[in-house]
Amino acid sequence: MKRHEEQSSGNNTERDPIVRAQDVRVTFRAPGSRDTVKAVDGVSLEVRRGEVFGVVGESGCGKSTLGRALLGLVPLSGGKVIADGRDLSTLSAPQMKEMRRKIQIIFQDPSACLNPRRTVREILTEPYLIHGIRDRKKIDEEIGKLIDAVGLAPYHLSRYPHELSGGQKQRIGIARALTLHPEFIVCDECVSALDVSVQAQVLNLLMRLRGEMGLTYFFISHNLNVIYQVSDRVAVMYLGRIVEIAPYRSLFENHFHPYTEALLSAIPGTGEGTKNRIILQGEVPSPQNPPTGCHFHTRCPKACPICSKEVPGMREILPDHFAACHLYDEKI
């Protein structure tokens, strides 16, 4: 947090964005057909330095693709991503490599993203070698500090991934993301595969590291409870678009979009009984053939005729609290 304050005062604005997405679009070709899937359909947002920016949505809403787009890991079909003041699409390969030191990712399944034939030490050494750091002594010193920071012991360095538990593997995934002192980390469902007691350990670890190292997280999860626990600001996604974006307290107290409302009320075990629960009918429509207008109108309990015709724009309903819904057209 210290670093955060220094930097924000240095730049003389509290809203200093570290990563900015402007009308980002990512389109995939559907397998075996000519159809295209708009995985991310015009998303604009900015992630402020030092914050935890939470993204929540159901499977297929494009939240992971958006996270990858911010790192330049998927080609954009429209819009641009500006990281650390530079448009990623204009960077040359060596410049992009340099940029990757600053922007990193932690994946959901730690078993799938660690090379099973390498020891933990080799896994953690690789990023240094790729980036031309060959001073063994310095690398070993850095790795020693990292392994300690993520709550593991030096003897874990000689282990292979299969010898570690899920929680330990995720700690290695975190340590690897931290090797090159990044500033911005995309956490893609990084606690979803863990048992609850281990999930709490990893969440606490991530929050401690953020404070110590001045990190900014783009935290993707389908679990609203987890998002509530860690985020400063939250974006809710539905079928490739952001429907609501707000500071966490404002979102959980005042949510405006009917989808956010339904999503929050669907969390099991909240409130008294289930009387007021909004049970959405049907399923998320196929992104190959999304509904016209507002993507949510087919399941929205408050849909009006205009919803199927026009895409609602983002409106600031409360300070820093935006929602894209026609219900708020006149009120503003």
Binding site: S59, S197, A200, V226, R277, I279
Partner: protein, 335 residues
Amino acid sequence: MNYDPQKTPKDAQQKPILEVRHLCVDFHTAEGTVHAINDLSYTLMPGEKQGIVGESGSGKSVSSLAIMGLIPNPPGEIVSGQILFHGTDLTKLSDKEMNKIRGDKISMIFQEPMTSLNPILTCGSQIAESLVLHRGMKKKEALSEALRLMQEVGIASPEKRMKEYPHQLSGGMKQRVMIAMALACEPEILICDEPTTALDVTIQAQILDLIRKLNEEKGMSVLMITHDFGVIREISDNVIVMYTGKVVERAPADVIFKEPLHPYTKGLIGSIPRITKERGRLEQIEGMVPNPTEKIEGCTFWPRCPYATEQCRKADPPTVILGMHQVKCWRYGEA
């Protein structure tokens, strides 16, 4: 048929539909024998919703497989104990006798509908199968019943879906097909093993709502096995908390959330982020679930327990019964 958790089995004048008594299940693996379940006992009353909660490796799924007679042998083995269904010990039944009960009187839905459905049969014929087997229906009759069931579980345009294969359905739809299959013969007990873990929250809410409705309308007993305390809050009258194959605590659902007695239960509840709770650092249980082949003297939770004493390290605590509440801890009152 509604179950009242305030009544003890005696005043309710109901006999338990299912009684698990001192069940022990071992798995013989290359690394040694694993005591997957260690002296598990509980009763399930008609119409009751019983929750079993635990982390991976706690034995919660194995306990349900034991009831269904689905423990693979080898390597698994029911070492001792009884599973009484209306007084009949299921562990003593032959495969043939068990086949009559399984899918008819007791049904189960699994976590992953994708892997539990047959990919080369249409959904309609999979549902009809158990009706042909257990109810002796003709294929045609069974298919029309399957259609009714698909409607009942809320599958849109069931006529079309009947003829489709599992891969053509979404996760939520597949889980509904599983539920329709499980309900086909109107079972007395529905065992749900992590039924919503693979589903999105809005779909999870739909499925839990459906299970609750079926319990209320048909008086079917539900055994809900999950790692998610949120799901337990939704759907249980009584909750069993398992750790390393043992029951560490059992109580009515409202009691366990308000006054958990076992340090493990306390830690688990405290470690879950919830939007209804003020945020702060999450409570955490140090360490992790021990390797099942590891032998731990005394209480199996002591290496992770902040309250452990010499006594905890030496001797396994007895189960203390306090009215409706039972707990297996030496220090439950002090902690």
